[in-house]
C-alpha cells in the first residue's frame, strides 16, 4: 500500500501544472472535489477499481508471505515472519544457477532467432507484386496464432514422438530415432522453432503497417537514381521500419527474464528438467504442485523484481541512447 501512496504523491505533483492552466479555484488536487464534480465517472469506474485492487494489488500484498512461513490455517497476517530465509535458501540452492541459465538460454535463443523472422517475412511480403497473392500468404501465416497453445503443444508432442512424422523426416537426415522431447538438447530448438512457426506471421503485421507508411516517392526517387530492388530494401525499407524494430526490440529485451511458464509446462517432462526448467515453471512446480507456498512466492517475487528493474533500465537506456522509449 506504500506504493499506492507514493503514486498518489507523484501524481498530485505532476498533475498540478495542468490544473493551474484550467479555471479551477484550487490548484491542489482534492479527491473530494474531484468526486463531487465527476461522481458519475467515479461510479462507472468502481467495478474496475475493485478488480485491479483485488486481483492485482492484493496479490502484491499477498507476496509478503515470501518473508514468512505461510500456513493457510493462519492466514497471511497470522503467519510467522522469517525474514529472507526463503530467498537465501533459493540463492544457495542447487537449482539457482541452472534456472537462471535455462531461462536466459531459452529467452535469448527465442529473441535471436524469433525476432528477425517477422521482419524478414514482412519485407518479403511487401516485395510481392501481386496483392492478392500477398493476402493469401498473410492469411496462411497468421493462422497458427489463433490455434490454442494446448493444440500447438499437442501437435508438437505427437509429431516428435519416436513414431511421429517430424521425427521420421529428421531420421532421413541422420538423426537417431527418438522421442525428441525426451532429449534435453532438443528442447530449446523445438520451443524456438515452434514459436517461430506460430507467431512470425502475426508478428509481421506491425512491420507491414510500418512498410505501408513509407513515402512511396522515396522509392520512385531511388529508381530514377538507378537503385535496384535490393538497394531499395536496404536503404529505404529497412531504415523506414527501423523505429518500429527498435521499439519492439526494447520491449523484448526488457522482458528477457519474464518467460511465461505455460508453453514450458505443456511440453517439458522430468527427463529434460536440466535444460527445460525455467524460473516460472519451477515456481509453478514448487508452489502449485508442491504446495511450498512461501518458498515459491519468494522465487516468484525475485523474478518479478528482476523483470521490473530490467524493463525500467532498458527503457531508460533506450531513451538516453535513441530517444525512443515506451513511456
Amino acid at each position: 500500500m506504500a506504493q499506492k501512496e507514493d503514486f498518489e504523491q507523484s501524481i498530485t505533483q505532476t498533475a498540478e501544472p495542468k490544473k493551474k492552466k484550467s479555471d479551477r479555484k484550487s490548484d491542489r488536487f482534492s479527491l473530494a472535489l474531484d468526486f463531487r464534480r465527476n461522481t458519475e465517472l467515479y461510479f462507472i469506474f468502481i467495478p474496475v477499481l475493485l478488480y485491479y485492487l483485488f486481483f492485482h494489488y492484493f496479490p502484491m500484498y499477498g507476496a509478503v508471505i515470501a518473508f514468512k512461513d505461510f500456513a493457510p490455517s493462519r492466514g497471511i497476517a497470522g503467519s510467522q515472519w522469517v525474514g529472507f530465509k526463503h530467498f537465501i535458501s533459493f540463492f544457495s540452492s542447487y537449482y539457482f544457477w541452472p534456472l537462471i541459465r535455462n531461462t536466459l538460454v531459452l529467452s535469448i535463443s527465442n529473441l535471436v532467432f524469433g525476432f528477425p523472422a517477422p521482419v524478414i517475412l514482412a519485407i518479403l511480403i511487401n516485395e510481392l507484386r501481386s496483392k492478392s497473392y500477398a493476402r493469401v500468404v498473410q492469411t496462411a501465416t497468421y493462422l497458427p496464432h489463433f490455434i490454442s497453445l494446448v493444440v500447438i503443444c499437442g501437435m508438437i508432442v505427437q509429431f516428435t514422438r519416436d513414431n511421429g512424422w517430424i521425427t521420421h523426416l529428421l531420421t532421413l537426415f541422420g538423426m537417431p530415432r527418438q522421442t525428441m522431447l525426451n532429449n534435453k538438447d532438443l528442447f530449446v530448438p523445438i520451443y524456438v522453432i515452434s514459436g517461430i512457426w506460430q507467431e512470425s506471421g502475426w508478428g509481421s503485421i506491425i512491420y507491414l503497417a510500418a512498410l505501408a507508411g513509407i513515402d512511396q516517392d522515396l522509392y520512385e526517387a531511388a529508381e530514377i537514381d538507378g537503385a535496384n530492388q535490393f538497394q531499395k530494401i536496404l536503404h529505404i525499407s529497412l531504415p523506414g521500419i527501423l523505429p518500429t524494430i527498435v521499439i519492439l526490440f526494447i520491449m523484448r529485451v526488457g522482458r528477457i527474464m519474464s518467460m511465461g511458464a505455460e508453453k514450458v509446462i505443456l511440453i517439458y517432462n522430468a527427463a529434460i528438467y536440466d535444460t527445460a526448467d525455467i524460473i516460472s515453471s519451477y515456481v509453478y512446480r514448487r508452489g502449485i504442485i508442491g504446495t511450498d507456498w512461501s518458498f515459491s512466492t519468494a522465487v516468484g517475487l525475485f523474478n518479478s523484481l528482476v523483470n521490473f528493474i530490467l524493463v525500467i533500465s532498458v527503457n531508460t537506456l533506450s531513451r538516453r541512447l535513441t530517444e525512443m522509449s515506451l513511456w
Partner: protein, 292 residues
C-alpha cells in the same frame, strides 16, 4: 513503370517461391491433423510416420466416437459459458473504464492510469494470486476462469485510445442537452467506437476459447473441464481416449485418430470464423501498436 532488370526478375520469382514454401510449411501441420482425423483408424496406426498428402483410407469412425461420448460436450458447454459470460463482463468493464480514463475533466485520471499500467510491469506473482482465488472459494468454479481476468490492461489501453479519438464537441453538445455520463457513454460514445469494440470482442472471445492455464490451476473436477483441458489430457499427456471417457475398451485402435478428431472439433469454430474476421484482428494490432 520502368522495366525490371534480370536480377530483379529472378528475385521476384524466388520471392514468390520462398513465400509459397513458407505457406505450405505453415499450413502442413494443420492439414496433417485434418487428414488424420478422417483416416481409417487401423490404417493410420500402421502409418503414423508417413508424410500424409490426404487421409489414409477414409473413415468418420473417430468423429462418431467423439460425438457419442459425453466429455467433449460438457467441455464444449463449459467453454461456451466462459466465452459468452466472460467476454460480456470483459466488454462492459473495459468500455466503462476506458471511457472514464479518457475523460479530461477527471482529476484522478492520470493517477488511475498509472496505477493500472503499473500492473503490466509488476505483479505479486503466480502463487499469491492462486491463493487468493482459492481462498474466496472459486476452486472448481467456472467463475475462476472469468473474474481473475475480468479486464485485460492491454485491451483497456486500445479501448481508451479509441475514446481519445472522439472529438470533445460530441460530448459537449450532449451535456448541454442534459444527458448524464452513462447516457452519453451508451447513446453517443459507444456507437462511435463500434469497430474497436468488435476487435476487442474477438480478442477476448478467442482468449477465453483458447486459454487453459487458469482452468488447469483452478478446475479439478472433470465435469467442469473446458475443452482445452480435455485436449491437454488427450493429446499431451497421451492418456488413452478411454481414460478421458471418449471411447470404450473394444475400440482401442481408435485412440490415435480420436485425438486428431477432437482437435478438429474443438478448433473448428475458430478456423471457420478466422478468414472472415481476419481484418478485424489485424486492425486491433494497429490500434494497440500506437500506445502499447
Amino acid at each position: 513503370m520502368r522495366k525490371m532488370t534480370k536480377g530483379e526478375k529472378i528475385f521476384n520469382v524466388f520471392n514468390v517461391l520462398i513465400l509459397l514454401a513458407l505457406v505450405l510449411v505453415t499450413l502442413y501441420p494443420v492439414l496433417y491433423v485434418i487428414f488424420v482425423s478422417f483416416s481409417e483408424p487401423m490404417k493410420f496406426m500402421k502409418n503414423t510416420e508417413s508424410f500424409l498428402l490426404g487421409p489414409v483410407g477414409f473413415s468418420l469412425k473417430s468423429y462418431e466416437f467423439v460425438f457419442k461420448y459425453g466429455t467433449i460436450w460438457s467441455g464444449y458447454l463449459n467453454t461456451i459459458f466462459v466465452v459468452v459470460v466472460g467476454t460480456s463482463i470483459n466488454m462492459v468493464l473495459t468500455i466503462g473504464a476506458a471511457y472514464v480514463l479518457s475523460r479530461r475533466q477527471l482529476g484522478a485520471r492520470k493517477f488511475l492510469t498509472v496505477a493500472i499500467l503499473f500492473t503490466r510491469y509488476f505483479s505479486g506473482g503466480l502463487i499469491p494470486s492462486f491463493l487468493i482465488v482459492r481462498n474466496i472459494g472459486l476452486m472448481n468454479s467456472l467463475w475462476a476462469l472469468i473474474l481473475p481476468v475480468a479486464v485485460n490492461t492491454f485491451n483497456l489501453v486500445i479501448m481508451r485510445t479509441a475514446f481519445d479519438g472522439v472529438p470533445e464537441s460530441m460530448e459537449e453538445s450532449a451535456k448541454l442537452d442534459g444527458a448524464n455520463q452513462l447516457t452519453i457513454l451508451v447513446k453517443i460514445m459507444v456507437p462511435l467506437v463500434i469497430p474497436t469494440i468488435a476487435v476487442l470482442i474477438l480478442y477476448y472471445g478467442v482468449y477465453h476459447w483458447n486459454s487453459w492455464f487458469n482452468a488447469h490451476l483452478y478446475i479439478r473436477k472433470r465435469n467442469k473441464y473446458p475443452l482445452q483441458l480435455i485436449l491437454r489430457e488427450l493429446i499431451i499427456q497421451n492418456s488413452s481416449a478411454n481414460d478421458v471417457g471418449l471411447s470404450s475398451d473394444d475400440d482401442a485402435f481408435l485412440s490415435e485418430t480420436i485425438k486428431y478428431s477432437t482437435i478438429v472439433i474443438s478448433t473448428i469454430p475458430i478456423l471457420l470464423l478466422y478468414p472472415f474476421l481476419q481484418k478485424y484482428f489485424v486492425k486491433g494490432v494497429m490500434v494497440g501498436a500506437v500506445k502499447g
